[in-house]
Symmetry: C2
Subunit: 285 residues, 2 copies
């Protein structure tokens, strides 16, 4: 795949034609000072142009960098489907992981899968094995079990984007947290899988805003990354930027996940107050 | 005191002269259709003009409505001093409450008091007895003791603005919370003083921003009120608006204080990250 140009920080490309011109200028062999572009490059460029132009025109976001990954999304619920759909839309190769493939297929998966033909389905281990980045989109109560099923060896060395919140619904609504204060689910996962590079992120907002942040205030709100591995945080931050996030704050090591997980009680009360999950916090500074 | 005019919502008065004209026009006997203003009115107006003009020019805020209260501020630390100074500046009659008046006077109080001559100092009970509104600006660990010293009878029926956070520094920095998840300090105080109308507020930002929010993004950020008594929340929300807050969110009953107190771990990490306390969250919706 050719390397694709990006718009500058804060810059918007308003027209698909302008974008195509930039794309052609940016590819090997493209641009006025360069030899005639080879046909194979232009075919690839034109395929990308459709996706990129749609992103720029519909989303108002700069085109992504063309760095595609094989992503395993563990969890078939609302969060898992939202992440899988968005990542596939952006050109990543996505496989959703589930505890029981047959049971998932027997549920409402078929309808969803029909409209997302590029997203695969596999058991947790199979989905994780071939992936470069793993997303934990399971419920907090089931996360450690799901990750154990994915396999310590399959997770070793990989970036794990952990979105889960340790919500405990045992005493009704609003739920409390099952781990907090001097520990967090993110830390528990990092301790259980020390060879995996855990990054806590996106657990502070509703699924539709995780993946389409520009629908609210043109993306003028904040998300966080927490983790011990700077490169892993950079990879996740780039994915978040591709989703449309404009303010990704690196809070520091994985213990900072306590802060983002403990935001949930406030989030839940705001959800009750506002009557919608389409809100987020912005760190004004 | 004469009733003072206010600027309309969102309106800014740019010049002291314009403000003085409005003040004179608004007082009994002022304005073109009215008889010559009496001298005593004008003297009062001119005294107010200095304060109001400073607020309008320096703070960019509309002048307050002239509803003054006797306020007891329990706690002589940074938060207590900030609230006391600001409330006095706004024309409220303020007495700071302390556990030991002699010990407070023997400390660095004298310097502060010299530059805040309108703020009184008394024991917790004496300060609270004559007040209409009480502010808990003590440390979270000492709040219940300080309020017990203020006296259940003295607190009965009154609005208590509770700013304290239940921070536990027993394990170093960052502190953990000593009460959370299925309880909060705000709730403990409400249970201990059932005749007092507790409103949790302002515990989510640094003292200087509590009292001068317009210094950051012209006040475009959020604060919360949590409490069981709607009138008490209204009183506190009005005081917060007088401080300059533009987005005061009523989260609901006192149990919602769990959410704002549990924001502290994220606040503390952001403080470490940003290297300043002059930041706040905005609820973007």
């Amino acid at each position: 795949m050719v390397a694709l140009p990006t718009a500058g920080a804060g810059e918007r490309v308003e027209h698909a034609d302008e974008l195509l011109a930039r794309v052609v200028a940016g590819v090997p062999g493209g641009g006025p000072q360069r030899p005639e572009p080879r046909l194979v490059d232009l075919v690839e460029v034109r395929q990308h142009q459709v996706v990129l132009a749609r992103e720029v025109l519909v989303e108002g976001r700069p085109p992504r960098t063309g760095f595609d990954m094989r992503i395993a999304v563990l969890g078939t619920g609302m969060v898992g489907r939202a992440i899988a759909a968005r990542a596939a839309e952006l050109g990543h190769e996505v496989t959703v992981g589930t505890r029981d493939v047959a049971a998932t297929r027997a549920g409402d998966w078929a309808d969803w899968a029909a409209s997302h033909p590029r997203v695969g389905l596999a058991g947790h281990a199979d989905a994780t094995r071939g992936s470069e980045l793993v997303v934990n989109a399971t419920s907090g109560a089931g996360s450690l079990t799901a990750l154990a099923a994915a396999g310590e060896e399959n997770l070793a060395g990989k970036v794990l984007l952990d979105i889960a919140n340790p919500l405990d619904f045992g005493n009704g609504f609003p739920p409390t947290l099952s781990v907090l204060n001097d520990d967090s689910l993110g830390e528990r996962i990092q301790r259980a899988f020390p060879r995996t590079r855990v990054v806590k992120a996106l657990n502070t907002l509703t699924a539709d805003l995780m993946t389409h942040p520009r629908q609210l205030a043109d993306g003028d709100h904040s998300v966080f990354v927490c983790g011990d591995d700077p490169d892993a945080k950079k990879t996740v931050a780039e994915l978040l930027a591709d989703f449309g996030h404009t303010d990704v704050i690196d809070l520091s090591d994985i213990t900072t996940a306590r802060g983002t997980e403990m935001l949930l009680p406030l989030w839940l009360r705001l959800y009750g107050k506002l009557g919608t999950g389409i809100f987020n916090i912005k760190v004004v500074r």
